[in-house]
Symmetry: C2
């Protein structure tokens, strides 16, 4: 009995609208997961995330393992209770974080031995440990432990790595103790080799997993390479399982990936850019620091219904940002997430409405993804 159930409700080409059922409630898809690394979406309360349409959040296994520790969170009743979020939670595997330690990490067939930059302590992250941590956290969706390799990498290296990812996935499956409570998603690898991607997608599809992620993308490659791989993988995955593209991206990337059959996304852009003063809007990105906003009484985005846009001017938000005021980071984060979550709602409606609606939304997303220029 899987902890996850995905109901497909409408399609438009490869694009899908559906509902993902989890032990902590349902997620209308396509969906975006705000990132809450340390068990908090930066600066936001759970009510606020919910209030702007968030239905699922992502948290980071590796970070919570180091601080405050998965067993501490377990003793406190699990991650949902700990962070006060009663909706679904997905955690990453921690793999991406340990591999990005590079010289501080040593990879073997057993797993990855590394020193945490925080306390210098040696730790071993393996498929078994990875599953155990996520089950201790009590999340709805755990990610399998996969090998993350650099880009570009040659075919032989990618092939060997993908095989190891599959072996690690099998060990993850064997290690599970609470499959009815915590689903396990496998991660399709294969680098930028269409045939390796296709073969891995087929191999994992045959394993009848709870859900599927597309990994190893958004690692520095051009966007069309990324979308090319999504195009290869997504249609080969089972239609009755959720599909998650990890770490993507700008609004246009999300729309393009939805049009290729992806259901679930996460990205630090809306939260991280907010901390840098960068704002998403239907008219393109803008940087709130710009001097031209000094006396601007208008909202960040005329068309945005969020709390920030209903109450505060660009001039005030610029002032808060330049004064390094907490409220500024908070209000920009709220707005950016509201933009992303609103986009997902409209994207779902467009998939249901049909090709014209989807094309119109794609055009908006192109505009919305434009970098801040001299005039915004």
């Amino acid at each position: 009995m899987s902890a996850l159930k995905y109901d497909l409700e409408a399609t438009c080409g490869e694009a899908r609208a559906g509902t993902l059922h989890t032990p902590h409630g349902s997620v209308p898809t396509p969906a975006f997961m705000p990132v809450g690394t340390y068990g908090t979406v930066k600066g936001m309360t759970p009510e606020e995330v919910r209030g702007i349409g968030g239905s699922i959040v992502l948290s980071n296994t590796m970070h919570l393992w180091v601080r405050p520790g998965d067993t501490a969170i377990q003793q406190l009743g699990g991650l949902h209770r700990f962070m006060g979020w009663d909706g679904p939670i997905l955690t990453d595997s921690g793999g991406y974080q340990v591999f990005s330690l590079k010289k501080l990490a040593r990879v073997t067939e057993e797993g990855v031995r590394f020193r945490t930059p925080k306390d210098g302590e040696y730790r071993m992250l393996s498929p078994e440990v990875c599953v155990s941590i996520q089950e201790n956290l009590g999340v709805d969706m755990a990610m399998a432990f996969d090998e993350c390799i650099e880009w570009p990498a040659d075919r032989e290296r990618v092939g060997r790595s993908t095989e190891r990812t599959t072996r690690w996935l099998r060990r993850c499956l064997d290690a599970r103790r609470a499959p009815e409570r915590t689903a396990l998603l496998g991660i399709v690898q294969g680098g930028f080799f269409p045939d390796l991607r296709a073969a891995h997608a087929d191999e994992l599809s045959a394993m009848n997993l709870d859900g599927y992620a597309i990994g190893g993308l958004s690692v520095g490659e051009p966007t069309d390479e990324l979308l090319g791989m999504v195009e290869v993988v997504a249609p080969r995955l089972p239609a009755n399982k959720v599909r998650y593209l990890m770490g993507v991206g700008y609004p246009i990337d999300i729309v393009e990936a939805v049009m290729r059959g992806v259901d679930l996304f996460d990205c630090v852009l809306p939260t991280r850019n907010a901390r840098n003063g960068q704002v998403f809007s239907s008219q393109g990105r803008l940087n709130v620091k710009h001097a031209r906003f000094k006396l601007d009484p208008g909202p960040l985005d005329e068309t945005c219904p969020c709390y920030t846009c209903r109450h505060f001017s660009r001039a005030y938000l610029r002032h808060l940002y330049l004064s390094d005021e907490l409220l500024g980071h908070r209000l920009l984060t709220l707005h950016n997430l509201a933009y992303y979550l609103g986009l997902m709602q409209r994207l779902r409606a467009a998939v249901i409405a049909g090709p014209d609606a989807l094309a119109a939304l794609r055009a908006e997303a192109v505009l919305a993804s434009q970098p801040p220029g001299a005039f915004n």
Copy 2:
């Protein structure tokens, strides 16, 4: 026609309960003003300040003058609209800030010439400039420009300085252009010399000002010296005008000052201590960093009805604090302000209820003001 009206509603000894009417609404007193230096109570929305019982906020003339500038705020419709707070606002005079620059400031009869640490620009703050800035901001209550001197200071120096403060007050009064919109409060000085304090209180009382502040206290002196001066000054001020004790203090200091006839307070303690992890509670201050909270599922304060205490554990708040997460600063600030504002509401009720209620609240405030120890 004064912009302020104070209605005295009940007394208990020297303690007063009343209502202060301003152009932006009424303030039940005794009242505490959360500090919003740069036009924002750190990390909090106006709705949240209102939601925990805040009815008036304090902002800083000097900071807003330098950034974004009083004329910019004026062009944007005034400070209320700029910061989205539709209740009363009081601004300090900026005097305290320029005098604390010490070697960067030169004091003459004209005013204070100084270099702003932020941009190295020379500026001159005088009674006329001070009033002009506060009227440009459009606040409900402006503070007169007074001379702030060091503690301890000898009698002759205090006497000369107090005379200058009176001359500056007269210049402030002459400089007003919008007295019906922005009230002007005079500041009683006189150092720690009871006769100088009494004489200055009498002199200012005779001037029939909009309201009165007691300044030059909480500058490093022992608490009983501070309360001694309040005891001298407060009863000499007109009963039909509001009385504001600047920059005070811990819960017990506030209760003691109310019992000596003060109506209005401001202090950075609840907001600044929150950023250091220090929490006010009915059982004494505690530091959320302490290792003993690592697995503590209880709220900061069992008796507190605030959002933080209703939703989050000490363990989670400790984790947020150690992870330097914005949400942690925000939730601790909310709690500390809720404690202060709740104390003021109960203090007002106690003044109306009578001596026993006031004595009981004083006992709580003694406990609540205790520093964090080994066990909290």
